[in-house]
């Protein structure tokens, strides 16, 4: 019998070494695998490369803790604002940053999950973030070559999971979670609910179990109500 559920966060994170690359789901406070990130911090890991949309928010939650404790060598993300922990570490030269356009980030992660080695996109053509990259004219438009971006580990937050690893998400909690689940050698899920096999209708499964390795039941509860972003400039 297949049963991917493990008993503790520690067991879920077992075997992740220093220096690992880690995909972390979530957008804003929604869909973030905070308990798993805090577990990584507890384990005192070093030199992690984290791939996420943001660079954390509160100092005492999720990525904020990993950054504060010095576990992360480099963050690859699209929008590292509103994270005091990251701002401090970046200013002090304690953390590397690679900024990737959000759609290119999502597509590079999907590519890793889908067996696509690289792809051409018009996004970032002619900009600083396209500099030094190969380009190609396709249908009269400059495209930038972008490579697949997978990782050793993916940390995912789901609403419900069954023992095969089938997942659903709640509201805007899907965000990066389903593509990240596809793109790691080891995919670990923090699930609000663990349900019997067959309870999730075949049409309602968002992440099929084949992508999932370990599930830990964490009834984490609702994310905090959001505080709007102020900046006029960039988007998301």
């Amino acid at each position: 019998m297949i049963d991917k559920q493990v008993k503790s966060i520690d067991e879920a994170l077992d075997g992740i070494p220093d220096g690992a690359s880690v995909l972390v789901g979530g957008f804003g406070a929604v869909g973030q695998p905070n308990a798993l990130m805090e577990g990584l911090a507890e384990r005192g890991l070093k030199d992690l490369t984290v791939i996420a949309n943001n660079a954390g928010f509160e100092r005492h939650i999720g990525l904020g803790i990993l950054i504060t404790r010095g576990c992360i060598r480099k963050i690859i993300c699209s929008f590292p604002r509103r994270s005091p922990a990251f701002a401090d570490a970046y200013r002090d030269g304690k953390i590397e940053l690679e900024v990737v356009p959000q759609g290119t980030l999502a597509e590079r992660i999907r590519a890793a999950g889908a067996g696509i080695g690289a792809f051409y996109t018009p996004t970032a053509a002619g900009t600083q973030l396209g500099q030094g990259k190969e380009t190609r004219e396709i249908d009269g438009r400059t495209h930038v070559l972008e490579y697949a971006l997978g990782a050793d580990v993916a940390l995912v937050e789901a609403w419900s999971a069954d023992r095969w690893g089938n997942l659903t998400y709640r509201g805007s909690g899907r965000n990066f979670n389903p593509v990240m689940a596809m793109a790691a050698r080891l995919t670990i899920v923090q699930a609000q609910h663990v349900v019997p096999l067959g309870r999730i209708e075949p049409d309602a499964v968002v992440t099929p179990g084949v992508y999932v390795d370990r599930i830990v039941h964490v009834p984490y509860g609702d994310p905090p109500l959001a505080v709007p972003e102020g900046a006029e400039g960039a988007s998301a």
């Binding site: 590292p80 940053l97 900024v99 290119t104 899907r174 990066f176 988007s235």
Partner: protein
């Protein structure tokens, strides 16, 4: 110029949002960037079907929820709690940016630091302040949507023009902007440069030109 001498008034944030909202044709699918553009959502007339997309995986979000009624699991790209309208759909980030980058949105509205007369736009990092660089979905939206409109104050807080001959800040996308809504005017970006198609009451062509960093034509 002393504000007291002005014969015109800048549009308030809400008046600007209302103006933009009124110009969006019914049936369009629209992404609103964070900052100023976000406010457009609250000014679309009830019953007028403009479908709003949020890059974190929502098509069909609505106004802010009433006080105390927010669903913490539904946020827009600016991480604000929003509502879903009947007909809404939810999807993941790869599917969301497939929608954006595949040219399926009729319109994206972004804020900007600078817009050039050839349609170049700079909105993600100034490199002139100490803020961490952060691009979000701006480059994907600017390159992917069928039309890009910009919503911005006409000048910076210290009075420098944001509409310029050539952007000095790092670009978000090249030759992408179709129209600019400012607190002073509505300006199309055409093959002959900026064309002002509307301006606030009492604002002369000369003053508007003075506040703009590139030549203006008037429609």
């Amino acid at each position: 110029m002393n504000p007291a001498e002005r014969s015109y008034r800048r549009l308030s944030r809400d008046m600007l949002a209302q103006r933009v909202a009124a110009d969006i044709p019914e049936g369009w699918h629209v992404n609103l960037g964070i900052g100023l553009p976000t406010h457009v959502a609250d000014h679309i007339a009830p019953g007028r079907e403009v479908i709003l997309q949020s890059e974190n995986g929502i098509l069909g979000f609505g106004r802010k929820p009433p006080e105390g009624k927010a669903d913490p699991w539904i946020v827009n790209a600016g991480k604000e709690n929003v509502t879903l309208v009947p007909g809404a759909s939810l999807f993941d980030h790869a599917d969301s940016f497939a929608m954006i980058r595949g040219g399926h949105l009729d319109l994206c509205i972004l804020g900007a630091y600078e817009v050039a007369e050839n349609g170049d736009v700079a909105n993600w990092t100034t490199e002139h302040n100490d803020r961490v660089p952060a691009v979000g979905g701006a480059m994907d939206l600017a390159a992917g949507a069928r039309r890009l409109w910009i919503m911005t104050s006409h000048t910076t807080r210290d009075g420098r023009p944001k509409l310029v001959r050539r952007c000095s800040y790092p670009l978000t996308a090249l030759r992408a902007v179709k129209r600019i809504y400012t607190d002073l005017a509505v300006i199309d970006v055409t093959h002959v440069g900026f064309v002002a198609i509307d301006r606030v009451a009492g604002l002369s062509r000369d003053i508007l030109q003075e506040l703009t960093g590139a030549p203006l034509k008037f429609a």
